[in-house]
């Protein structure tokens, strides 16, 4: 009986898990090293090896233990921290400061991130231009690469991008795990529609002003990436908003509620990603015949994507980011990854294995560069 995994119902097998990890091992090896690992610099070699082992060990344990979120979250949080480190480090190297100046805007040297994408759509259609002072191609965090990465990830993973690809999500995911029990247990779930309001507001305001208004005025992650130099009351107000929203929605509320409140109540890109859940091949399914309606999944869902009504109707909402927390919590193995068209309760392990391979591959390759860079920086700092 000990050999049966509670969460997936499959037999625990070291050989099968190793076999499942082997393709990930080979693909990440190719992507991380280009097929030719370079150990000429000791610190770079150690950093590369550490990240390579970390990525594959986490993936192995996902299969071996049947737990998803527990191991996903490790890489996801490390990704968020290391991406911020990489961005800040790049900023300090290039500009000697975390802020950007007017000259950086005029010279279109601002690193691009996926949160700008919703605001680009209308101006791109009507003015045939991008309203962001970044680089279209080439250089650090260019617009074309980020658009391709986000678009492909969203088409394949849907809102899964928010738990497997977004380099900001790890911040509130991390803080939401600090306390064992939530202090605030009930928040009006109507708030989960707020990102749609924010989305409409920023799309319209960006079109009318030809400015990425969310980045200029709202984005909480400016606090851990880069922000406009404080030279006036306006720029000081912006900095105040960034810090307040970061403190409130990314630190305090996640700690108090054990939920990803920034992702649930603010992020406009999350709103677009949730709509894309309708067209992706992967989904989360509820096997009603196995569910005993204990509603543990509802309690642990970090994005308010599950309600008792959803469980009773056997369908998860479009807010689901496929993080796997509900599956780890389900004692009946009734909630599981699925493939559209495949009835719930069937091909559970096949669907899980395929989804995990696809989503984890994206996160591993997307995050590896910045994690290696961070490890390398830490090693250089220590030694």
């Amino acid at each position: 009986m000990d050999n049966i995994l509670k969460t997936t119902g499959m037999k625990k097998s070291l050989g099968k898990s190793l076999l499942y990890t082997l393709p990930m091992f080979l693909i990440t090896f190719m992507f991380l090293t280009g097929g030719k690992p370079n150990f000429s610099d000791t610190a770079s070699g150690i950093a590369l090896l550490t990240v390579f082992i970390l990525v594959n060990v986490l993936f192995f344990f996902m299969h071996f233990t049947g737990k998803t979120d527990k191991y996903r979250a490790v890489l996801f949080i490390v990704f968020a921290l290391s991406l911020s480190y990489t961005l800040i480090n790049n900023m300090l190297e290039v500009r000697k400061a975390m802020y950007f100046s007017q000259a950086d805007i005029l010279e279109c040297k601002i690193p691009f991130c996926h949160l700008v994408i919703p605001m680009m759509i209308l101006p791109a259609a009507f003015t045939k231009s991008i309203i962001f002072p970044g680089s279209i191609i080439g250089g650090f965090a260019n617009i074309s690469s980020m658009v391709v990465l986000w678009l492909v990830a969203t088409l394949v993973l849907g809102r899964g991008f928010c738990s497997w690809g977004c380099f900001y999500g790890g911040w509130d995911d991390g803080f939401s795990r600090i306390r064992k029990r939530p202090v605030i247990k009930k928040i009006n779930e109507l708030w989960k529609w707020m990102p749609y309001a924010v989305l409409i507001m920023v799309i319209l305001s960006a079109a009318l002003t030809l400015m990425p208004t969310y980045c200029s005025w709202i984005c909480p992650f400016k606090a851990v990436t880069e922000f406009e130099q404080v030279t006036s009351v306006e720029s000081a107000t912006k900095a105040g908003i960034f810090l307040s929203l970061f403190g409130g929605l990314v630190i305090v509320l996640p700690v108090m509620t054990k939920k990803r409140t920034q992702c649930s109540f603010l992020c406009p890109l999350g709103a677009i990603n949730s709509l894309s859940n309708k067209i992706t091949p992967f989904t989360v399914k509820i096997d009603k015949s196995a569910c005993n309606e204990c509603f543990k999944c509802v309690g642990v869902c970090p994005l308010y994507a599950l309600s008792k009504e959803d469980i009773r109707s056997g369908k998860v909402s479009i807010f689901c980011s496929k993080c796997g927390k509900c599956m780890d919590a389900c004692p009946q193995n009734a909630i599981h990854y699925g493939i559209k068209g495949v009835p719930s309760g069937t091909l559970k392990n096949f669907s899980r294995n395929l989804f995990l391979f696809v989503s984890y591959l994206f996160m591993a390759v997307f995050s590896a560069g910045s994690i290696i860079n961070t490890f390398h920086g830490l090693l250089k700092f220590i030694f």
């Binding site: 231009s129 279209i136 074309s144 690469s145 559209k340």
Partner: protein
């Protein structure tokens, strides 16, 4: 029908896997293709607009860009013209600018690079004020606010 749906779903999911496997090695090529799309260029509000005139002095050059008035659905009533100084710049920059090429000087600008002070004297009622005056990696850039002619 049920079987067809299952097969289509699984095919679709495998397609996702293949797309991800080719995504990262092909990212540069995909990005270059995307960058060639007609709307993939930075809005002139950020680039400062196309170069209209290029003047050469002894140690430095002066670029006067086309005035930028672009708005969302139609042109805006107010905009700016950007002027870039490049090269070995003097401590005190003094230049008279004819931004619209009508042969008449539209404004006189003086930049003190030491105390970062910029003064503007307008000879054209359409010229408003200094919007931005900043040192750049290539020298100095100024944006002067304009009203549409």
């Amino acid at each position: 029908m049920k079987k067809t749906k299952i097969i289509a779903g699984i095919f679709w999911a495998f397609l996702g896997l293949i797309v991800f496997i080719i995504l990262f090695p092909g990212l540069n090529n995909f990005s270059v293709s995307v960058s060639k799309l007609p709307f993939m260029k930075i809005n002139p509000r950020y680039t400062g607009g196309e170069k209209a005139y290029h003047l050469v002095a002894e140690k430095c050059t002066l670029d006067i860009r086309r005035p930028v008035f672009n708005g969302f659905l139609k042109e805006s009533n107010s905009g700016f013209v950007q002027i870039d100084w490049r090269g070995d710049l003097p401590a005190l920059i003094n230049d008279s600018i004819d931004y619209n090429g009508d042969g008449e000087k539209d404004f006189f600008i003086q930049i003190n690079r030491k105390n970062l002070k910029t003064d503007l004297k307008s000879f054209n009622p359409k010229v408003k004020d200094v919007v931005i005056s900043t040192p750049t990696s290539y020298g100095w850039a100024v944006r002067v606010g304009l009203l549409k002619e």
